[in-house]
């Protein structure tokens, strides 16, 4: 039974390929790293994954991390970030529930490539969080 921290040892080549994919996501120019990190952290919040919330992949001001749970009423997040966070929240529940309006809001800031990068990132982040929950300490509820 693998524990979350043992994954890299159990399947080192596959884990390295996964890490390379994740690294490439950080290198794409279509979405800022801060937006990716906000979406990753929001997914971690929605999944109640303390382990993922405790990690930092892109440095954000502590005030913004702290306000993420109520991003929709906080002045710390701009329109582009709000569009992506709204998209991420619906994605986390049901990708089929996403509307053209959700997509258009993201594209109005980041274009088609930005939308694709966001969707790709959400898949990678959500997958990593769920796998951590499966084999880690479970959720924090």
């Amino acid at each position: 039974m693998p524990q979350a921290h043992e994954f890299n040892q159990s399947v080192p080549a596959l884990a390295a390929a996964r890490d390379a994919l994740r690294a490439s996501l950080r290198q794409q120019p279509h979405l800022p790293g801060a937006v990716l990190e906000l979406c990753r952290l929001r997914l971690a919040q929605l999944h109640h994954s303390a382990a993922d919330l405790a990690t930092t992949e892109y440095a954000l001001p502590e005030s913004r991390r702290g306000a993420l749970g109520h991003w929709d009423s906080s002045s710390l997040f701009g329109a582009a970030e709000r569009a992506c966070l709204a998209f991420a929240e619906v994605y986390a529940m049901d990708a089929a529930a996403l509307t053209d309006e959700h997509a258009d809001a993201v594209k109005s800031h980041y274009g088609d490539a930005g939308l694709v990068a966001l969707i790709e990132a959400l898949g990678i982040f959500d997958g990593a969080i769920r796998v951590n929950l499966l084999w880690g300490e479970g959720d924090d509820r």
Binding site: P2, V11, L14, D100, R130, L134
Partner: protein, 172 residues
């Protein structure tokens, strides 16, 4: 679901199914994505037929019409049949799937329904049937397939239904 694509595809087709989809708009991730996809299928301890059980159960959970219609030829060569595909549905527990295949389906369901609260009994069953390497590979495969299916759904343009079609792994 929407029938209208929410992002355009790359202007110049390459012949690679994934590169020619909207994913090709982010070329910075494409090579690593394709490489990872091939490793999921070709480098792991599970047979392609077992990997396909995980992929098809995921496709049903996400209701990705495209993913549900596809059969990878390497899985067919490894013994996957339409009769077995039909067993991956809701009645899988009472089907003729093997104990390993039923546990693969159960793990996909756990991944979606409550990844943070797997029962001790399911953990014990998985532990008895699979090695640590197999479980790690299977878990990453499920996550990968989930991301792909949800990507396809989120990008829109999905038809209501498609015929079953056998395809080969995209180059990567």
């Amino acid at each position: 679901m929407t029938g209208k694509p929410r992002a355009h595809n790359p202007a110049a087709p390459s012949g690679n199914m994934i590169a020619d989809s909207a994913l090709g708009l982010v070329p910075e991730t494409l090579a690593s994505y394709l490489h990872y996809n091939r490793m999921i299928w070709e480098e792991g301890p599970l047979s392609p037929a077992e990997v396909e059980v995980a992929r098809l159960r995921n496709a049903r959970r996400v209701n990705c019409v495209f993913c549900k219609s596809v059969r990878y030829d390497i899985a067919i060569e490894a013994g996957l049949t339409e009769e077995r595909v039909a067993m991956i549905g809701e009645g899988y527990r009472d089907s003729g799937l093997s104990a390993r295949e039923k546990l693969i389906v159960a793990l996909v369901d756990q991944y979606y329904d409550a990844p943070g609260s797997m029962s001790e009994s399911l953990r014990a069953e998985l532990d008895a049937e699979f090695s640590a390497e197999e479980l790690a590979h299977l878990s990453l495969a499920i996550a990968h397939f989930s991301g792909f299916s949800r990507c396809a759904v989120a990008l829109g343009g999905m038809p209501e239904e498609l015929p079953v079609m056998a395809i080969s792994l995209p180059d990567g």
